[in-house]
């Protein structure tokens, strides 16, 4: 008898709670986000979340979406596909979000993309790179570059802007590193006759000791070393290469786009290192300068491309809702697909192709006095269109 009473009470409290939640949500627009806040990807997850919070505050300071307050509902997916799937269902079933920003890695993002597609909820992956994320269907978009695009852009920088003739490739042995290197090699074999790839080697993801690879590269002595990897891989490469007296130019990619890179490599080894990425710190548009100032003021260090990409991921959805004049999923989807020359933090977004892949210029940044600075921009349509 007592148990039954308790059960009824619990059920009652739950129903009341849900009703209160529903009533509360009526005057807010709920957008969901999945970010890895614990485990090995926690640093990127925190970058993404910190930037998303700035985006939410900016939107609400300017009156919200369609007259309603924007509410961000985020969960920690630990960059784990199983976790992300459960949380995606929670975002849909319990929180009833109208759109979702994917602030996590490729494995979880691929897994949830199919769910959001099935439930017809617009999903914008901020920086996940795997091609399958957008292949889930027409509700899935990506604000980061495909690895192949970035690889082609890097090859253009290496061969045309820096004039390298003999190039060594050293890349992290994950999908991203391999695809980026493929794109690089494709561009070289098609557009750069006379340029030779003299070394081509993958290293395992958790690698810390790059001396065996670098000894070999030192012997070959190429004009340029293309290093594909995250800042915690590329940083030690720069430091160890400098220690071994390697004089070749070194070019990296967005994985190395973090203020932590300089800290890990040391200022003298990092000086002059270049990357292809999507955040241009010297872009004078207010959206960029205000974000950098706000981020630094709130968190005490410089933002990176992961955070900037997450910011844009959310803002692309907000912009589409404002243009569509509704949060209706299909109309928002159409509005995202129709995005054109949007004034984004990670560059002026020309739009999305039929697969949902972003089209925008690739930024080339160089480290000067310990900070990433503008070096060039690659916007040839044949390079940046996936």
């Amino acid at each position: 008898m007592l148990m039954k009473f308790v059960r009824v009470m619990v059920a009652g409290v739950l129903i009341l709670g849900l009703a209160a939640g529903a009533a509360f949500s009526a005057d807010t627009v709920r957008i969901g986000a999945l970010v890895p806040l614990t485990g090995a990807a926690a640093a990127d997850g925190l970058s993404a979340l910190n930037s998303l919070k700035i985006a939410v505050d900016n939107v609400n300071a300017e009156g919200g979406i369609l007259g309603k307050r924007l509410e961000l509902i985020y969960y920690d997916d630990r960059a784990d596909a199983k976790e992300a799937v459960a949380l995606a269902h929670k975002l849909i079933g319990q929180d009833r979000v109208v759109a979702v920003v994917g602030g996590s890695y490729s494995m979880p993002s691929r897994a949830v993309a199919t769910i959001f597609q099935e439930e017809e909820i617009p999903f914008v992956a901020a920086y996940a790179v795997h091609p399958d994320v957008t292949k889930a269907g027409d509700f899935c978009f990506r604000n980061g570059f495909l690895a192949a695009v970035e690889g082609k852009a890097a090859a253009k920088v290496a061969t045309q802007m820096l004039g390298a003739k003999r190039i060594a490739l050293l890349y992290s042995d994950i999908d991203f590193g391999r695809t980026l290197s493929e794109g690089f090699k494709q561009y070289v074999s098609k557009n750069a006759p006379g340029v030779e790839i003299v070394y081509d080697q993958a290293y395992p993801f958790p690698e810390k000791d790059f001396k065996p690879y670098l000894s070999k590269i030192k012997e070959i002595s190429p004009d340029l070393i293309m290093v594909n990897g995250y800042y915690f891989q590329t940083g030690p490469i720069l430091k160890q290469a400098k220690g071994m007296g390697i004089k070749s130019m070194i070019l990296g990619e967005e994985g190395a786009d973090s203020p932590k890179l300089v800290e890990i490599a040391g200022p003298s080894a990092a000086e002059g290192f270049m990357i292809v990425t999507n955040l241009n710190r010297d872009d004078e548009r207010p959206v960029v300068q205000n974000f950098i100032r706000e981020f630094k003021g709130r968190y005490g260090f410089d933002p990176d491309m992961v955070g900037a990409s997450a910011y844009d991921g959310l803002m692309i959805i907000v912009d589409a809702m404002n243009r569509a004049g509704t949060t209706d999923a299909k109309k928002v989807r159409d509005a995202i697909a129709a995005t054109s020359n949007y004034n984004g933090l990670t560059g002026v977004i020309k739009g999305f192709d039929s697969e949902g892949e972003v089209v925008k210029p690739v930024q080339v940044q160089i480290i000067k006095l310990g900070e990433y600075r503008y070096f060039a921009e690659v916007d040839d349509p044949e390079v940046i269109t996936p």
């Binding site: 806040l37 614990t38 485990g39 090995a40 926690a42 640093a43 997850g45 925190l46 042995d173 080697q201 290293y203 395992p204 993801f205 958790p206 690698e207 810390k208 000791d209 001396k211 065996p212 690879y213 000894s215 070999k216 030192k218 012997e219 800042y231 915690f232 940083g235 030690p236 430091k239 220690g243 071994m244 007296g245 932590k260 800290e263 890990i264 490599a265 040391g266």
Partner: protein, 287 residues
């Protein structure tokens, strides 16, 4: 030839680092027959404690001492409060507890110091060396010096002191050692203190060598050291050291001279499978 020597020197350094982490694990296995996976978390804790003290005081020696003390404390606490109550269960129960500790300590480090990688830009009071075309950076020299000192200390302690005799006796048969009047509970704690301090030294050295300290830095050592103590002979510290140095050298030379399609970390496990097939007692283990 120069390239070969340079590779060899780097390989031995990597092997030495493995040896420092693995020897503590071998000690603990020898005495409690527990796979102390959380040892890798103590190693990460050691790096954080060292970095914390170093950035406050700028004194590397003080950082080393405080970090060793902190790790010993945590090591003994793990032994007293987690392993000891679980000893009466089958060995996989303390192993599960140990894995939980590894993940838990990782997350505590993240909560306290943040998820970002910290650099460890230590000023090292040791000169670098040039032998003709071969250069040994100050950090490399430090890795060699410190490892040799620590390993010599371990050897001296276990073969030339009464404490070492008691430790070896307890690791052969803890009940008989106890019945002969050895205070085995104190010996177990001492083993954890020695193992955890060695892990602290390893954590600081790795932090400086790669200039990185981060919450999940124990993740790879956690499984690689398990393979290494099997290869060396479960519970044999000299075996663990030998296996570590051999692995460091072979990893480095294989990457440098053969473009093997296998990831570096697979090598430890190939060696483990080979040892289990042909010499199950390990390189220096007893049957």
């Amino acid at each position: 030839m120069d390239l070969f020597l340079e590779q060899l020197l780097n390989g031995i350094a990597i092997g030495f680092i493995y040896a420092l982490i693995t020897s503590g694990l071998a000690l603990v296995y020898g005495i409690l027959r527990i796979l102390h996976v959380a040892h890798a978390a103590i190693y990460a804790l050691g790096a954080y404690a060292g970095l914390g003290i170093y950035s406050i005081t700028g004194n590397l020696f003080l950082a080393l001492i405080v970090s060793m003390a902190a790790c010993s404390l945590v090591g003994v606490a793990i032994e007293k409060f987690v392993y000891f109550p679980l000893l009466k269960y089958p060995p996989y129960v303390p192993l599960i507890g140990s894995i939980a500790l590894l993940l838990g300590i990782e997350e505590v480090l993240r909560l306290v110091a943040g998820p970002y990688i910290h650099a460890f830009p230590a000023e090292i009071p040791v000169p670098g060396f040039h032998f003709g075309p071969i250069t040994m950076s100050p950090v490399l020299v430090t890795v060699y010096l410190v490892t040799v000192i620590v390993l010599f200390g371990l050897w001296f302690l276990s073969t030339r002191t009464e404490l070492g005799l008691a430790m070896r006796a307890s690791s052969q048969d803890i009940q008989i050692a106890g019945s002969l009047g050895i205070n085995t509970s104190r010996i177990i704690s001492t083993t954890f203190i020695i193992g955890s301090s060695t892990a602290a030294v390893a954590g600081i050295l790795v932090g400086i060598y790669f200039n990185q300290v981060y919450p999940t830095m124990g993740a790879v050592p956690a499984y690689k050291t398990l393979a290494l103590i099997v290869v060396g002979g479960l519970g044999s510290v000299p075996g663990a050291v030998l296996a570590s140095v051999l692995l460091g050298i072979s990893e480095t030379l294989l990457i440098g001279y053969a473009n093997i399609p296998l990831p570096r970390d697979a090598l430890a496990f190939i060696a483990m499978i080979a040892v289990l097939m042909w010499r199950p007692q390990g390189l220096l283990g007893r049957r």
